[in-house]
Amino acid sequence: MKVPPRKKDLIDIRSLSREEVEYLLESAKPFKELFSQSVKKVPTLQGKSVLTLFYEPSTRTRSSFEIAAKRLSADVTNFAVSTSAVVKGESILDTVDTLQAMRVDYVIVRHQASGVPGLIARHTRASVLNAGDGWHAHPTQALLDAFTLREVHPETAGRRVLIVGDLQHSRVARSTSRIFHMLGAEVAALGPGTLVPSHRPEWLRTFSNFEAAFAWRPDVIYLLRVQRERQHDQFFPSVHEYHHQYGVTAERLNRIRGEGIHIMHPGPVNRGVELVDAVMDYERTLINRQVENGIAVRMAVLYWLKPGTEERHG
């Protein structure tokens, strides 16, 4: 396999070539193998510093990056950002100056506004990893989803993935559907009409109800998290109604089991909303595997990226 030249940042899946995606998915495998060694840590990033900069609350993504960086022997610092403060463009660049002075090598950024990780990347020599920005992108989530899909379906071409939920406001849906499409899978969306984007790529098929989606015979059902904090925006009538129409209910689980369909979810799950409890015990539910794979994929990304050596201004 060819190893593509190293890049400084990972901002979105769109900026990766197919070759780069294939390389990252392939190189995540040996990182995952390390998890079963007696020493799970490698000295690869010894002496490097990784800073997590989360303007939006997150436990799993931040922990996953933190574990990935620590297994590579990097030093990790969590930069506390007040979540209540309205962060203006100006103060972001002030923060960047601070990072520059701290001489960190890698910055992991999550922000509620699209484009912030890219902005930071252009102003620092450190490698910037986008851990989710607004509705824009969540590239490491997409990579871990693709890695997980490959584990159960090594030949991704022609596989059918049904994404269920709020596609309009989901960076996960945006990045993950893109990478699945890149790998040759067929991707379809199912969700409330108000939550399926009107401007969508022509390769994205849509369904309005589960019955029609089942008839399409998906190999994987990817459930998006219902963002209850958005419930007040009234995009769907009620959580109960959502579950009834778009959730994996006990009856739908029977059908899913019968057809051998795999279930994915980026976490954290809302039991009783996107899925019933029994889904968590279903043998083709890949949710915990996604968490484990997330660490391996993030290690592969940290290994591949190369922080800049010179101060950059612009």
Binding site: P4, P5, R6, S27, K29, P30, E33, S38, V42
Partner: protein, 179 residues
């Protein structure tokens, strides 16, 4: 570019033979595990294992890429192959196998890699060619062929498993020659 053949096919075979004798001659009452370092240490370990037969408890491969100390200076990365050692290394006599021993940096990384997998009773080093030029205090226990070289030369081992035929070549390159 000037090139000299250090060992031909028969020379490679007798170098492997010397390594095999040396390992067998220092036989200990411990399970013997041969570990080939990617890339060409792998066929070296396989050939040695084939000659030693039942004396070998296990054979594996080791990828030292993640244990190297030169990530900063690399624009392109090596292909990661992962390590695969099916036999337990705890309490074993592990013999690391490689094609060429030069600066010793690969072996330093390999020692980190092997100790991450467990705690061998002892670790030894077997190489097909020892070309001198050490930058670290590391020596081989089992050497197939020893030759003094300088930094502007390059020693290239070819083995039929990965290349066309068996031989060891010496090239005159620049000071950047690395193996």
């Amino acid at each position: 570019m000037k090139e000299t053949m250090l060992l031909d096919e028969a020379g490679v075979a007798s170098a492997v033979g010397r390594v095999v004798e040396s390992i067998a001659g220092q036989g200990r009452d411990l399970p013997l595990v041969l570990v080939g370092i990617h890339t060409r240490g792998v066929p070296v370990a396989r050939r040695v294992a084939a000659a030693l037969g039942n004396a070998v408890a296990g054979i594996g491969t080791l990828d030292i890429s993640l244990y190297r100390d030169d990530l900063d200076s690399r624009g392109t990365l090596p292909v990661l192959r992962g390590s695969d050692i099916p036999a337990p290394v705890d309490g074993a006599r592990v013999v690391l196998c490689d094609d060429v021993l030069f600066t010793g940096r690969t072996i330093r990384a390999a020692l980190d890699g092997i100790t991450a997998l467990g705690r061998p009773a002892r670790v030894e080093l077997a190489v097909l060619v020892d070309r001198g030029g050490r930058e670290l205090p590391i020596q081989a226990d089992h050497v197939g062929h020893a030759v003094e070289t300088n930094a502007s030369q390059r020693v290239r081992v070819r083995l039929s498993e990965t290349d066309e035929g068996d031989c060891v070549m010496l090239y005159e390159v620049g000071p950047e020659g690395d193996s």
